[in-house]
């Protein structure tokens, strides 16, 4: 439905804006050699308001053929045809009306006088069509702008929700409880290590809390958070946990949403290293080139160990956040090989200043 008809309170201002046109149409019809003024007024007022409604039908060809992205020839031909059709109908309506008025004694001979003005009226109809088409294009542009704004707002809400979700999932309780248990163990057996673990845990918590407020952080900062996490886990797992990092200076300055890597590294430990009796090595690779930032996280796992609940949620969360931020531009793949797990991310590279 047409936006003017679809909203109460738009129709009256629209019709009021058409009123001056009635004056112009009157003037056209009452030119010397044309109609008497009274006849012109009597015809012009209903005709103008009839056109006000007919002109709204230009909405459909306008919507079908947006100004940008349509070929010129079909655009011109379509509107020319629509203008001719609407003006023809309008002139026909005027002829019928003047015929009807002619039955009234005061308007005797109107039909004959009107015939001489039909061509002028037709030309006026075409001009009015152009006006109506212009109005409709403006309305379409406004509507598109409003829609884009709505979509943007929706996306912002989505991104925010995804971020909140990751914040909630960020400090996973089992990690805290296990770390506290290790501290409690080390407190009597190895007090210096207990102290070290307290410091590392504090460091990790402080970092992850401060990152939660930001919308973008550098890969370097994100990796520091992962390192703080791994430093705690290393005290728990001892020699079972090895870490290998591979990144260049350029990629460490790229911007990413916060808490992107750390949950993936945590997954690699919980669902990978921790399932293996002999432990293993978590590999984190980051590379920047060709306008893309590529991240690879790889870990071995024991296919003979029981699977642990919870890995799907973390991955899904990262996937959603990437989609909210980069849309189609984000690539996220998680692959389970025979005894290795791979997560690959590719996003547009954004360099920090």
């Amino acid at each position: 439905m047409h936006p003017i008809l679809a909203h109460q309170g738009r129709l009256l201002p629209y019709l009021a804006a058409c009123a001056p046109l009635a004056v112009i149409v009157t003037a056209l019809l009452a030119r010397p050699g044309g109609l008497f003024l009274g006849e012109a007024v009597a015809l012009a007022i209903p005709l103008t308001f009839a056109y006000a409604f007919m002109g709204l039908s230009a909405w459909y060809p306008c919507r079908q053929l947006p100004l940008t992205g349509s070929k010129a020839l079909p655009l011109v031909l379509t509107h020319a045809a629509a203008a001719a059709l609407i003006s023809g109908v309008w002139v026909g309506l005027a002829a019928l009306l003047s015929g009807a008025y002619g039955l009234i004694p005061a308007f005797r001979g109107l039909q004959g006088r009107f015939a001489s003005q039909a061509v002028t009226l037709f030309a006026a109809g075409v001009l009015l069509y152009l006006l109506a088409a212009a109005l409709n294009y403006v309305l379409l542009a406004l509507e598109a702008a409003a829609q884009a704004q709505r979509r943007e707002a929706e996306l912002a809400v989505l991104a925010r929700e995804a971020e909140l979700a990751v914040l909630k999932a960020q400090i996973r309780p089992h990690f805290l409880f296990n770390s506290l248990n290790s501290i409690s163990a080390l407190a009597s057996s190895d007090p210096p290590r207990a102290q070290q673990m307290c410091v590392r845990l504090g460091d990790f918590l402080r970092k992850s809390l401060s990152l939660g407020e930001k919308t973008s952080i550098s890969v370097g900062e994100e990796l520091e958070l992962s390192r703080a996490y791994l430093a705690v886990e290393q005290l728990r797992f001892g020699a079972r946990l090895e870490v290998e990092e591979d990144l260049d200076e350029r990629s460490s300055r790229c911007l990413v949403p916060p808490l992107l890597l750390q949950p993936l590294v945590e997954n690699a430990v919980r669902h990978g290293i921790a399932t293996r009796v002999e432990g293993g090595r978590v590999r984190v690779g980051v590379a920047c080139g060709g306008g893309r930032l590529r991240i690879l996280i790889e870990n071995p796992f024991d296919p003979d160990s029981p699977s642990r609940p919870g890995s799907g949620r973390g991955l899904e969360n990262v996937r959603q956040r990437l989609a909210a931020r980069y849309g189609e531009e984000a690539l996220f793949a998680a692959k389970r090989l025979a005894d290795r797990y791979l997560v690959v991310i590719s996003v547009p590279a954004e360099l920090s200043a």
């Binding site: 089992h174 409880f177 296990n178 409690s184 163990a185 399932t275 024991d302």
Partner: protein
């Protein structure tokens, strides 16, 4: 003056946890409990089963998330006369733990007194002498809406792990189940009802009082007189199908 706990017999305890610091704090607390002797520490489920057989502990303190076999699987394969105490950072497993008749469920981190209490409870259970058949309950005590991912079977000192996607059929034989997987048969002491209840009903069908088959192995059904049928599997094996089993199959296959 009497030593606290004097008069109670020394009781052997085994510690099973894959993290070294977690084992050391348990040992520390346990060694302070009068009458307790820590007989060994294990870092994974396989070791736990081996040590349990060699060292004959009366109580096992068991972590849940471990490599190879999780705590529940270890409990299922342990001698049922051993009392098990779960020690974990996760409270999500508590209900399941008591359904498999764990003596206690201790959350990490813990205080010394909490460990002493767990030993107390284990002693009480042991003195009542009620043997626990964990295997029966383990199968039934899975979280709502999830199904068994693998079946563990003990064969002397060896442990076989059969992922359900490689479990072809199960046949009840007296007190045992014969589990068929890739041409081999494994025996396990369990009832068919409890195992069947733990398997995904869209993948496994109990076609007969003593037969469960994996649905995608079913090649065809043949009438066998008197309203009963015979299911022919992909490898040509013929399995009897009862009237109820036939109804279940028809419902699943549409």
């Amino acid at each position: 003056m009497t030593e606290p706990g004097a008069g109670t017999a020394q009781i052997g305890v085994l510690i099973v946890d894959d993290e070294e610091p977690a084992r050391s704090i348990l040992r520390e607390h346990l060694e302070r409990v009068p009458g307790v002797r820590v007989v060994g520490e294990c870092a994974n489920g396989f070791e736990a089963l081996r040590s349990a057989a060699e060292l004959s502990p009366r109580i096992v303190f068991l972590d849940i998330e471990m490599p190879k076999l999780d705590g529940f699987e270890v409990l299922e394969l342990l001698d049922p006369s051993i009392a098990a105490v779960f020690v974990t950072a996760y409270d999500a497993y508590a209900v399941k733990a008591f359904e498999v008749h764990a003596v206690d469920y201790v959350l990490k981190p813990f205080e010394a007194s909490r460990i002493a209490l767990a030993v107390e409870r284990a002693r009480e259970r042991l003195s009542r002498g009620t043997a626990v058949r964990a295997g029966e309950l383990h199968a039934a005590a899975r979280p709502e809406g999830t199904y068994l991912a693998r079946v563990v079977v003990r064969d002397g000192s060896r442990v076989h792990i059969i992922p359900v996607e490689r479990l072809d059929a199960v046949v009840a034989q007296d007190d045992y189940l014969a589990l068929k997987s890739e041409g081999r048969t494994y025996l396990k002491q369990q009832t068919l009802s409890s195992l069947a209840a733990a398997l995904d009903p869209t993948r496994f069908v109990r076609v007969h009082r003593s037969h469960v088959v994996r649905l995608d192995l079913l090649a065809r059904l043949e009438p066998y007189g008197n309203g009963s049928h015979v299911a022919v599997l992909a490898d040509g094996t013929r399995v009897p199908v009862s009237r109820e089993g036939h109804a279940r199959l028809k419902e699943l296959l549409g």
